[in-house]
């Protein structure tokens, strides 16, 4: 159980952060998610689907919480440093770090549905059917939200950013 928790608690917590944008509520959602998962663990028939299952529970917990209280609009902070420099010079690493932080901030500032869909697609690498399952929406709705999110991200990353990026 310890291994599973160490693998999935950060994932569920981060997904909960994308749902709520509030670290305290995200903790609350993560705890409740694992409690519900533990109680209903016999319902999970395919261990391979564990991640999608946990995310789905987290989304349900988030919806339950949202019904009870209004969500505070607090921005997600405290990103970690890149653990390895990737063989880059300190200047390059710092510049890349800045780009990564910026793209995360851009993602977090998207409208809620687009943010959740883009997070599950780009960070958790779920396909649109899995995302639909997690969020309880149709595949077409996932595709539409994902297209909008990508378009917005491209618009925010203008030509100047790209040129700088390509020079590196």
């Amino acid at each position: 159980m310890k291994d599973l928790l160490s693998e999935y608690v950060p994932r569920v917590y981060r997904f909960a952060l994308r749902l709520t944008r509030d670290p305290h509520t995200a903790e609350e959602i993560a705890q409740e998610t694992f409690l519900r998962a533990w109680r209903n663990r016999t319902r999970l028939q395919h261990p391979g689907a564990r991640r999608v299952w946990l995310f789905r529970i987290a989304a349900n917990v988030w919806r339950d919480l949202a019904r009870r209280k209004t969500q505070p609009a607090e921005s997600v902070v405290s990103l970690t440093e890149d653990p390895d420099g990737g063989g880059r010079t300190p200047d390059q690493a710092a510049a890349d770090q800045e780009q990564v932080l910026r793209v995360i901030k851009d993602m977090d500032s998207l409208p809620p549905r687009q943010r959740q869909v883009l997070y599950l697609s780009a960070i958790e690498e779920l396909d649109h059917a899995q995302i639909a399952q997690v969020l309880g929406i149709s595949s077409d709705a996932v595709k539409a939200s994902l297209s909008l999110a990508r378009k917005t991200m491209r618009r925010r990353w203008g030509a100047g950013d790209l040129k700088r990026r390509e020079v590196r």
Binding site: S6, V9, F34, L35, L79, D161
Partner: protein
């Protein structure tokens, strides 16, 4: 300049195009600089997002431990055994269906008799032989009525409650009972109805109750034999019941 096929850019990025559509769009990419630029931007964003996977905020350090403690203290929930749940439900259903039938065909058993000494009797009277006899007679009555599957509730404190339930074969509902009463008035006591409360006073000793109850039972003769008539002390000397 955008063309209708440019609208397929996001579907191409998402991998949602058919093979034919994909080939067509890739051919279009070679001609459309706008789409090629957009695709290039998207690839850049995707790379950054992929790099962000390792740099997203970590979970609070104590969260996993807290969840682990919570789970270990949480009692395990046993999975529902559908077979047992189904069998139990079927058993309850069967019982619910059969119980009314059984009640109709099985003779009513077991009286509810609670006999206490009437409080209206003064302490000095309780030592009198006739009072003791009355109590004994009441108890005997109770035994006899019990043996005839009559249900009697007698609460002598402070009221004597006579509640008889019709024996098997007698009409049960109040309406049918009253109809039966009209037809056969000779079988019903004239002075008391089912469930009527009779206050125990010194002038209405237990033998009155016996008289009423004896009409309701089949063993009238036996009752009269076992009852004791407190002829001298009740102020009703020589009182005999019609049933005897």
């Amino acid at each position: 300049m955008t063309t209708p096929i440019c609208a397929h850019l996001d579907a191409y990025i998402g991998g949602w195009l058919s093979e034919e559509q994909r080939f067509a769009f890739e051919a279009h990419l070679g001609e459309c600089l706008t789409c090629a630029a957009e695709l290039s931007k998207q690839e850049c964003v995707d790379r950054l997002l992929a790099a962000a996977r390792t740099q997203l905020e970590p979970a609070p350090p104590l969260l996993a431990g807290r969840i682990e403690r919570q789970l270990s203290s949480s009692p395990p929930v046993r999975p529902v055994r559908w077979l047992w749940a189904g069998l139990s439900a079927a058993a309850v259903l069967l019982l619910g269906l059969l119980l009314p039938v059984a009640q109709r065909h099985v003779p009513r058993l077991g009286p509810v008799i609670s006999m206490t000494e009437p409080p209206g009797i003064p302490t000095e009277d309780r030592t009198r032989p006739d009072m003791e006899d009355r109590q004994a007679a009441l108890q005997q009555l109770a035994v006899l009525i019990t043996s005839r599957s009559q249900r009697v509730e007698m609460k002598a404190h402070p009221w004597l409650r006579l509640a008889t339930i019709p024996a098997p074969g007698e009409p049960r509902s109040a309406r049918r009972r009253s109809a039966a009463k009209q037809k056969t008035p000779e079988h019903q006591p004239s002075d008391i109805e089912d469930g009527k409360e009779v206050r125990i006073t010194r002038g209405l000793p237990p033998y009155n109750a016996r008289a009423i109850l004896s009409r309701r039972t089949l063993g009238q003769r036996k009752l009269s034999e076992t009852s004791l008539e407190p002829a001298e002390t009740s102020g009703r000397p020589g009182h005999k019941h019609s049933e005897t």
